[in-house]
Structures are given as C-alpha cells and as structure tokens.
C-alpha cells in the first residue's frame, strides 16, 4: 500500500474511530451518570439509533453528492415538509379513497415526484442562470417553505393509514424499515459515486469545473441530475418518516439542511467540492445521532446537546485542518 492510499484510509476511517470513542465514552459515563439503568450499548437502543438517523441521514447522502459536485442545497428541509404534506394530504383526496391500499404507492409516487420536481427547479435555475447554488437554494428554501404554509396555513396536515404505519414500523432481519431505506440508499449512492460515469464526472466538476468543461463534460446536466436526486432523497426521507407519524406541521424539516450539512462535513466531505464519500457521511450521521442519544443518556438536555455538537463540529474541522495543512505556507489570519 502506498502512502497515498494509506492517507486516504486514515481520513476515511477517522469518523468511525470517532464513533468508537463515543460508544466507549457514553458506555462508561453512562455507568455513573445515567438516569436509566439500561446500558447505553443495548442492542435495541442501537437499532433505534439507526432508525432515528434515517430521516436526516437519507438527506445527508444526497447532500454529499451535491457538495462533491461543488454545490449546496439549502432547500431540502422545505422540500421534506412539502413532500410530507403531499403524501398525507393526497391520501384524503376523494378518488384515492376508492383505490383502497393502492392509494399508498400512488401517494408515495406523488410525494417523491414533488421532491424530484422541486429539485429539478433548483437544478435548472443553477444550470441556466449560473447563479451560485447557495443563493438559488436559499431563495427556494424560503419559497418552498412559503408553499408549505400556503397549503394548510399554520395547521398541521394529518392522515393516519394503518397499513402504512404497520409497514413503517415493521422490522426485517432486525432492522426497521427506515434503517433499510437508509442503508439501501447509501449502497446505491455509493455505487453511483464510485463506479459510474456520473459519479466520476461529479467529482471532476467539483474539483475543477473549468478543466471538466475542457474535457468535454457537460456540467449543467450533471448539476440538474444531482439536484433532482437530492430532491428525490428529501422526499424519500419524508415518505419514510411520515408514513409512521401521520402528521406534519408546517415547521417540520426546518434546519434539516444544516443538520445534513453538519453530518456531511463531519464525514470529511469538502465544502469546496471534489472530495468526499458516501460511506463517511453515513458515519457522520451516526456520530451525530450517537451524540444526541448519548448526551441524553447521561442526562443532558436538548440545549446542551446542540451546544456540544456545535463545539465538536468546530473542533473536528480544526483538527482536520491542522492535519492537512501544507507546511507553514498557508496564510496566517
């Protein structure tokens, strides 16, 4: 193994090492501080943790691809909420009632289509106007959230379908439905990014857009596909989550974009594009969820949890910078 690949392995392994440290810390600290008498590393607890990671996790997978491609998407939280409304509301539409359980796949399809369309709008604007994705999706974040409120005002949108709830709460080979969605999505996207032309070109564009253009890569269509993909994943996340909960508030999904970005960055993907990995993002997602659960386990409240996660994020990125700095040449600020 040459030093290059070894260096890469260390980088990609770092997040998993961090997870191990968290597990050890919370297990030991839990012995003394825990409010419950269950062990932290309880098997059911870990399964639940994976399930709870799924909503933001699925979005974070898409965010990884968007960021590797050199863009960002701030509108995923609003897309998540709007897709959830379409999912739940469509099942109450009169003609859907006549379809029986066939209403479920149709409602899913409509919700997923919503995400794809919203993503395509972002992608087309970024492609055709050349405006930075940060600005475009900042705008669409506000716009899509506006649509959410236009739909039902401040009222929650609710519909419980017990067949759907049963499906969402099912466990197959021990893992919950949501976990399966997260893992299968991760596997497919990992294949997409490491083995396909689209993935290769996405890295190339994120690393050096001009050189990619000069190599004959059509940058715009790749942008469009990736925004459609993250839109799809945001709505998939909504579908998985709201199939079970059955009620969506107009404020749901707020800050999801930032949690997703946090997980992606913690996993080592670069904000500047061209570098990152789906598997590491999965690590980032799990690490954050572990922190939340672990701090709760030892008795910290939500405010403290957020404070600690924020501090850890900055500390991790600082450490990464120290390790990757090239000599003294970098500007001191």
């Amino acid at each position: 193994m040459n030093s290059e690949t070894r260096g890469n392995l260390i980088k990609q392994g770092a997040i998993w090492a961090f997870i191990v440290v968290e597990l050890l810390f919370f297990s030991i600290a839990g012995e003394y501080l825990s409010v419950s008498d269950k062990a932290f590393m309880d098997f059911d607890n870990m399964l639940l943790l994976l399930k709870q990671s799924a909503p933001i996790g699925i979005i974070a997978l898409g965010m990884t691809i968007i960021m590797i491609n050199g863009n960002i998407d701030l509108s995923v939280g609003a897309t998540f909420a709007l897709s959830a409304i379409v999912l739940l509301d469509s099942m109450t539409w009169p003609f859907m009632a006549g379809l029986g359980d066939w209403a479920i796949p149709l409602a899913w399809g409509l919700a997923l289509l919503t995400g794809v369309v919203l993503g395509a709008i972002n992608g087309l604007i970024v492609w055709k106007t050349g405006v930075d994705a940060f600005i475009v999706t900042l705008g669409s974040m506000l716009g899509y959230r506006g649509l959410v409120f236009m739909y039902n005002g401040e009222q929650p949108t609710s519909h419980l379908n017990w067949t759907l709830v049963d499906f969402a709460e099912a466990q197959f080979l021990g893992l919950h439905t949501a976990t399966w969605f997260l893992l299968v999505a991760a596997l497919l996207l990992w294949l997409l990014m490491t083995k396909t032309i689209h993935g290769r070109n996405a890295y190339a564009i994120g690393n050096n857009r001009e050189a990619a253009v000069n190599a004959g890569i059509r940058v715009g269509p790749h942008f469009l596909w990736n925004f459609m993909l993250i839109g799809f994943l945001a709505s998939l996340s909504a579908v998985v989550f709201y199939s079970e909960s059955g009620s969506v508030n107009p404020n749901d999904g707020m800050l999801y974009e930032l949690w997703a970005i946090t997980a992606v960055v913690l996993g080592g993907t670069k904000l500047t594009g061209g570098y990152g990995s789906i598997v590491s993002t999965l690590g980032g997602v799990i690490a954050i969820q572990l922190l939340r659960k672990g701090l709760g386990h030892i008795g910290a409240d939500t405010e403290t949890v957020n404070l600690v996660i924020g501090l850890i994020l900055i500390a991790v990125l600082f450490l990464d910078r120290q390790l990757n700095r090239k000599g003294k040449e970098e500007l001191k600020i």
Partner: protein
C-alpha cells in the same frame, strides 16, 4: 563596488524537506546599487531561497546578513521592517480599495479614536507616487488600474519603508513591451538610490539588458555567479541545466499531408479579427505574439468555448460550426490549455482518471465504469509518452510539470484527434523537460497529426514550427515559413511594426 558593505548576504543556507534537500549550502551576495539576477530551473530552489529570505521558511542552517548585521526573519512583516521587500509575480492587492489604502494596508496613519488620517494618507501616497512617475493618483480604485499599474502600486508599497533590497519575482510576466520599459526605469531608479535588487526571471533578453551579475542555482546548490557583461546566454543555460540545450531550428523530416483545418476570416468581437490560416496533417503551425494578441482566444473558438462573430472553420474541406467542447472533441479537435493546473487537470484526481476523463462515457461494463479498459488506456499512453509516475493511483497534483503536461497530451491522444492545439506547451516546465515536450510535439506531427502550437517564447516557436503565424492585437500580421523566418522579422511583426498588407486598427 568591492569595498562597499553588501546590502544583503546569504551564507550557507540549508533547507531540507522530508526527502528533499531543497537548499544545499547556498550563499550569495547583493551589493547596494546592483541588479542581481537569480536564475535556475523550476525546482532549483529559487522560490525556497526567497521564502527563507522572506521569513516564510526557517533555514536549517546558515545565516542572513543585512548590511553585514545578522538578521533572523520570522515573518514577511519582519522582513519588510528590516528592509527586504518582495514584488511578487502574483499581485496581492485589494481591488475595491484605493491606491493609497493598498499602499499603506495594515499601516494606515491614525488619528485619535482609531480614525484614519486620510489627509496624511493621501499626502504620503502622492509623495511616493511622484517618485515613480505614474499616471494615476492616491484615490484611484486599484481594480480600475492596468496590471502594469497595479504592479507599480506594489512597488510603491515597497517604498513605504526605506528598502535595502527589493526582490522582483518574474515581474514582466504579464507586461507589454512599453510597460516593461517603465518598470526597468523604476528598477534603475532604485539602483541609483543604492538599493540592491534581486531579479528573478526566465527571460534571457531581460536578464542581459538590466542586470549586473547573474547567480545560478541548480538542484538546490549554488552554481556560481557570472558578470553579465562577460557572459552569454549559452553559458548561463549550461550552468542552469548542466548540459547544452538543443534549440536548433526545426527541419521538416517528413511528408506533409492534406489540409486538416482551414480558418477563413474568423473574427470574435474585439478579441481577434479576420484571421485566416491552414494546418496540414503532419505540420506544426506556430502562433507567436504578445500576451493579449488573441492567440488563446482563437484556440478557444476552435474548441467551441467561444462563438465566432464572423468567418468560417473548415475541417477536411467541409465547413463546420463548433458549438461546444463536446462538439469539438467529437470532430477531432483537442486543446491542451494554457493554464495546465487551472484548465487542464483535475488535480485531486489520480493520473488514470484524468487521462480517461473525456472518454470515460464509452468505457462502461454494464452501468459501471470499466476499470480494466481505463488502466489499459493509461498504461498504453504512459509508455508511449514516457510519463514518469509511481502508478496510476498517484494524484496528478503530485507530478512534475512536465509529466502533468504529458498526462494532458495523452488524454487527447487517446481520443485519436485530427487537430491538436497546444497552448503554451512548456509554461512552468523546467528546461530539461521542455526539450522532451518539444520532441514529443515534433514526433506527433511526424505521425500525421495536425498540430497548432501557441507560444510566447520565441526559441520554442522557432524550434518546433514548420510555419509561424505572427499576431498583434487580434490580427494576423504575417505568416512565415521555417526557412524564411528571422528573429528580427518576427519581433517586428508581433510588435505591430510591420505587416503584409494588414493594417493595425
């Protein structure tokens, strides 16, 4: 000069990086009032030496003396305070601020309560600008100035301290001839004030025009100092590369084929006008001219990156419209761009992926990219072009300039193009690898490719081309064959002093 105190003296400087001895006991001395050239190939240690001098690197051994006083530089600010100032090739100015604010950046004169003393700031600035004889004032926005004038701002910044030594790093890289004259006047003015000037450049004619002595580094070692008046280009080059360099005129050694590309009266806005030329298979057509003459823009138009406003492009006698790089590539036109790292390579990707980038679409096995096909292509062109890398997994950013350029060239050769356009083939590539790239270009022509070479280096154009198109200000001034071209006629043509009928607008 001999009994004076040196302005600056470096004594036995050693600097090692893991695995490399970047500087190996370098000593050299700059006298006050002297222009001292520092020369060497890329990687010879010039920039490392300057970074030691500027306080960016700590030397492992050795000592810096300023006016014979030992000095320890720990930061660029400290170096400046001690009278050692750098004029970098890449300007570092704040475009949105005024000339005065840029010159005194970080040292703005203050009044009480932290307010800026604007009156003093502008007065001090105007005093400095006056000595430089420039055509702008203290309140001009820096972004509105030409590159040459921005460089003057950098020089003015150097003059806010009383400098003992000023280091110019490739200062003429983006200047026109007229602007160079102004710069050289400023340098000779510094000289007459008793400042020691270190002048780093690859351009021999400048070195011989303005410097008093030439010091040469090779492989991190000091190779000697020559008096400019008593030496010649050949001797300096030999000292730099340790052997003689073959830059003899090209002689056609093979048959030319059909015309592959013909351009008729091509124009693109203000960038270039009424450009016509042909390239045959087996021929190298050189484009020579100053920066901004429109050469790169012609290449970009042929590659589909710009739309022409008038004129025709013919491939194999048939008129074509090239709408995008994909389109150009499909029609067999390839471009090796000017800025290798910025436009040609994905630095964070490995060698193989860079090489197969334009054709990876056709290398699939089912839904996935076929590793085997990619490695096969890479191996083939690594051998063919003699690319030196530990393996295809190596990140392309870790290769030397020459090997990077070969990756870009290999990328296009593997697509079997008809026309290969190479913009500044050896920019930033060290002298030794240069001749390798030159041989490669000649070799490609003899294999039947139609090659266009754009270069700002006259020896290079003369060395590789079968014919040379001289451009000035967006127009073709004259076309030369390799037999008839002389350095004088070429210089006249690209300075707009002559033209075969073409009038300069």
């Amino acid at each position: 000069m001999t009994d004076q105190t040196p302005a600056l003296r470096l004594e036995g400087i050693v600097k090692t990086f893991p695995g490399v001895r970047a500087l190996d006991g370098v000593s050299f001395t700059v006298m006050p009032g002297e222009v001292h050239a520092l020369m060497g190939e890329n990687g010879a240690g010039k920039s490392t030496l300057m970074k030691v001098l500027g306080g960016i690197y700590d030397p492992d051994e050795g000592q810096i003396f300023i006016a014979e006083q030992p000095a320890v530089m720990t930061s660029p600010i400290e170096a400046k305070a001690k009278g050692v100032v750098f004029i970098h090739q890449e300007l570092s100015l704040a475009d949105e601020l005024s000339v005065a604010e840029n010159i005194f950046l970080g040292e703005l004169p203050r009044k009480s309560l932290g307010r800026v003393d604007w009156g003093k700031l502008y007065a001090d600035t105007d005093a400095i600008l006056k000595t430089l004889n420039v055509g702008f004032n203290a309140k001009t926005r820096v972004g509105d100035l030409s590159i040459a004038n921005q460089q003057m701002v950098e020089i003015a910044r150097a003059l806010t301290v009383d400098p003992r030594a000023v280091i110019f790093d490739e200062p003429t890289a983006s200047l026109t001839d007229a602007e160079k004259v102004v710069l050289f006047e400023v340098i000779s003015d510094l000289q007459s004030r008793g400042v020691g000037v270190i002048y780093i450049s690859h351009r021999m004619e400048e070195i011989f025009k303005i410097t008093d002595r030439i010091s040469v580094l090779r492989d991190g070692q000091y190779r000697g100092t020559l008096n400019t008046a008593e030496t010649n280009e050949e001797e300096v080059t030999q000292l730099m590369i340790g052997r003689k360099l073959d830059l003899s005129r090209n002689e056609a050694t093979h048959e030319m084929g059909e015309v592959a590309l013909e351009v008729r009266n091509l124009s693109c806005g203000d960038l270039f006008h009424d450009v016509s030329f042909t390239v045959r298979r087996g021929e190298v057509l050189g484009f020579y001219g100053l920066v901004g003459a429109g050469r790169t823009e012609i290449a970009e138009t042929l590659f589909g990156l710009r739309d022409p406003s008038a004129g025709q492009i013919l491939l194999d006698g048939e008129e074509v419209r090239i709408t995008s790089p994909q389109d150009a590539i499909r029609r067999g036109i390839s471009l090796v761009p000017e800025d290798r790292k910025g436009q040609g390579l994905i630095l964070g990707m490995n060698c193989r992926d860079n090489m197969t980038l334009p054709q990876v679409d056709d290398m699939t096995a089912g839904p996935f990219v076929s590793d085997g096909a990619e490695v096969a292509i890479f191996d083939q062109y690594r051998d063919k072009l003699d690319i030196r890398t530990p393996g295809w997994r190596q990140l392309v950013g870790n290769l030397s300039g020459g090997n990077q350029q070969k990756i870009v060239i290999g990328k296009w050769l593997s697509m079997h193009p008809e026309v290969l356009i190479v913009d500044e083939p050896t920019r930033g590539i060290d002298v030794g690898s240069k001749s390798e790239i030159h041989n490669l270009i000649r070799d490609l022509a003899s294999q039947g490719y139609a090659v266009i070479v754009i270069s700002s280096e006259m020896p290079e154009v003369l060395h590789v081309s079968d014919r040379i198109v001289a451009m000035f200000s967006g127009r073709v001034m004259r076309e030369f064959t390799a037999e008839e071209v002389t350095e004088d006629s070429l210089i006249q043509a690209i300075s707009g002093l002559t033209g075969s009928g073409a009038q300069v607008a």
